[in-house]
């Protein structure tokens, strides 16, 4: 698991927002802020964080669906950020994406078979004569009857559509798939089927998966390593084992405490994620962090290796043993009040 497949080098993405058509002042949403990260071949990297943390932006940057403001993305050592459109198109066969909403990611006027065949023909995966056969095999691979090739998306259920979306991603034999909230819109029993399917596919194709989800228990099941994002910055990167058994960053600990399926520390952090147009100085989490001290506002903390393979962006390493509720008792008296942005 040491061979690099994708590498973000100092990647940044700002989206411009104008407050009013008359105002000249331009503001930027800092969606992803100076991120260095390597994804290794065959692994599943889970990305977790609240809405507005930059998870989806990162996924789109990974396969260059959007252009970075700064920084570069390397795929198998080749810089895809500077590629021409033609070259990039060839590369796209190696990286695919699955979206949250299978209702809107399929063309309602194309049969399932045509939707799957389109990319196969474009990338010349098999000869024209074999396309039909190939599509039938794809459908049975994702657990659908090959007859579904004749059907339209509207006649399928949500789970079936998500299977089609997975089949379409697999159609071009990619080595990397970005799954952005791929199971979030599904009922839990359907979700279990799709997660099993993704696990199977990963195993027999040696796929690399960038698995983006807000659901911590789903990520724990799927991921080998986990990246915790907050306001576009990495808070913690470590093996799934370390993240879930021994989280070190206060934000990771707070997220796990808030998720209903984990038995952990009793704590709710206050407030909500601040506006990404004007992130706090220093550590972006400090405004909600129960351990924050004045020093946290000064410098942006770098990711530091606190244990083998576990990287944490927090200057307060001494807090490891301290519980969040201890820290709450000290700050005291702010219960039940949300601060206005």
């Amino acid at each position: 698991m040491s061979q690099e497949i994708l590498r973000f080098a100092g990647i940044k993405k700002y989206f411009p927002v104008t407050k009013s058509p008359f105002s000249r002042r331009e503001e930027f949403v800092h969606a992803v802020e100076a991120l260095d990260l390597t994804i290794y071949r065959g692994e599943c990297l889970g990305v977790v964080g609240e809405s507005g943390s930059g998870k989806s932006t990162l996924g789109r940057l990974a396969i260059r669906l959007i252009e970075p403001t700064e920084g570069e993305v390397f795929y198998e050592g080749e810089n895809i950020s500077t590629m021409h459109a033609g070259e990039l198109r060839r590369f796209r066969a190696k990286m695919q994406m699955i979206f949250q909403d299978p209702y809107s990611s399929l063309n309602p006027r194309m049969t399932i078979g045509d939707a799957l065949a389109e990319a196969v023909k474009f990338h010349k995966i098999v000869s024209f004569a074999e396309v039909e056969d190939y599509v039938a095999r794809l459908l049975s691979r994702v657990g659908l009857n090959p007859d579904y090739a004749q059907r339209y998306p509207r006649s399928l259920s949500g789970g079936q559509r998500q299977r089609v979306a997975i089949a379409r991603a697999l159609a071009v034999e990619p080595s990397l798939i970005v799954a952005d909230e791929a199971v979030s819109a599904l009922d839990v029993s359907i979700q279990a089927e799709i997660l099993n399917l993704l696990q199977d596919i990963r195993r027999d194709r040696e796929l690399t998966l960038l698995f983006i989800s807000h659901d911590l228990s789903v990520v724990e099941l799927m991921a080998d390593r986990v990246l915790v994002l907050y306001l576009g910055r990495p808070m913690e990167v470590a093996s799934a084992e370390a993240i879930y058994r021994n989280p070190r960053h206060p934000y990771t600990r707070a997220l796990l405490a808030a998720a209903p399926s984990f038995e952990g520390e009793e704590l709710s952090i206050e407030g909500e994620i601040p506006s990404p147009t004007s992130p706090p100085s220093g550590c972006v989490f400090r405004t909600r962090c129960p351990f924050a001290v004045d020093e946290c506002a000064v410098n942006v903390p770098e990711l530091r290796e606190v244990a083998p393979g576990q990287f944490v962006a927090c200057i307060r390493t001494e807090i490891a043993g301290e519980t969040l509720s201890d820290a709450h008792g000290k700050s005291g008296g702010k219960d039940h009040h949300v601060e206005l942005r």
Binding site: H214, L216, L255, P260, S261, E272, H336, V338
Partner: protein
């Protein structure tokens, strides 16, 4: 009022019930056939208690909440039976299903309030937060506008929006999702309701904010002695926050009991299967999805509705109607084989 033995068993020792739903049947008329969205649901909420209704999409959990509020279009939805008995603040017991619409309008929002998943569509974008809370207060009580304004600010601080006064002048788009849901709760509380129905109130929110809203609802139920019906798809969340739970499948309650116990020790094969679908831990072994899919609600089903997906199903499961039976203290299950299986 308690006639059904299964319900007597699940409700011992609780305070007086504020709301009792008995054998509720809500059917929708489609072109030719009848869709039985809610088919014989009974449940109750006591003062200060949180009662959760859990189910997957199409199980009838939302329609149950909407039926209690009588918010369904009377042209398509019919009540085929049952009653919804509410103990009002004056101590009178009224059946919400048989009240004339005019009476119901007085009850709605004053004795029973409801909040929804998406607070942005529930709030009017062109009125300030203050206007919208004050409107509710003036509807249900005889106070001056100035007093209503003070009450509104007070309500906002009760739901954890400390800077209530400033917030009164703001508009929904200026608030975050969690704050909007707090405002919705403040509006729902403005008439001091006996019962609050919360339909997936935290589903659109981040986990950290979800935890805050859940804490808030728990505190409000306790402090005000308000009954809360919490409709959700999230069984793990229910185990953490609710007192009692009803698990619904295809329009019926299949299991009922103390929330944490149902989650830790489910008895009905559907509840067992549902718990098995929730990812827990980095398992090398696979999740066990439920085979097949939910039955067509337009088909008239005989016997257990889960039978065709149930690995323990026997011919007797589909031969006649199956009752929700009390199997132990505070637990009722709709399954003929539950004793042999457990």
């Amino acid at each position: 009022m308690l006639t059904d033995p299964s319900r007597a068993a699940t409700e011992r020792d609780d305070g007086p019930n504020l709301l009792e739903v008995q054998d509720l049947r809500t059917y929708f008329a489609t072109d030719e056939r009848v869709l039985r969205a809610v088919d014989g649901v009974s449940l109750s909420v006591a003062a200060g208690e949180i009662m959760a209704i859990v189910g997957e999409s199409g199980s009838g959990k939302t329609v149950t909440g909407m039926s209690i509020m009588r918010l369904l279009n009377p042209r398509t939805a019919r009540f085929e039976g049952g009653s919804v008995q509410l103990r009002t603040r004056q101590g009178k017991v009224v059946d919400l299903l048989s009240l004339p619409e005019k009476e119901m309008r007085r009850i709605r929002g004053s004795e029973v309030s409801m909040i929804f998943q998406d607070p942005l569509t529930s709030l009017n974008p062109v009125f300030s937060i203050g206007d919208q809370i004050i409107e509710g207060i003036l509807q249900h009580s005889e106070v001056s506008k100035a007093d209503a304004r003070l009450q509104a600010a007070d309500l906002l601080s009760q739901v954890g929006l400390g800077e209530g006064k400033r917030l009164l002048m703001q508009y929904p788009h200026q608030l975050s999702g969690g704050m909007r849901q707090r405002v919705m709760i403040a509006i729902a509380l403005s008439s001091n309701p006996q019962v609050l129905i919360a339909d997936e109130p935290t589903t659109a929110l981040d986990v950290t904010v979800q935890a805050q809203i859940v804490e808030l609802l728990k505190r409000l139920a306790r402090e005000r002695g308000m009954g809360v019906i919490f409709v959700t798809h999230d069984l793990a969340l229910v185990a953490k926050m609710a007192d009692k739970v009803c698990v619904m499948y295809a329009g019926e309650v299949v299991e009922q009991g103390v929330a944490m116990e149902v989650f830790l020790r489910p008895q009905h094969p559907y509840t067992v299967a549902l718990v098995g679908c929730i990812p827990h831990g980095p398992s090398e072994d696979r999740l066990t999805p439920i085979p097949g899919h939910a039955p067509d609600p337009l088909k008239g089903l005989v016997g257990c509705r889960f039978a065709e997906r149930c690995q323990h199903a026997l011919p007797k499961c589909v031969q006649g109607p199956i009752q929700l039976r009390a199997i132990e203290d505070r637990r009722a299950v709709r399954c003929v084989r539950v004793e042999e299986l457990s």
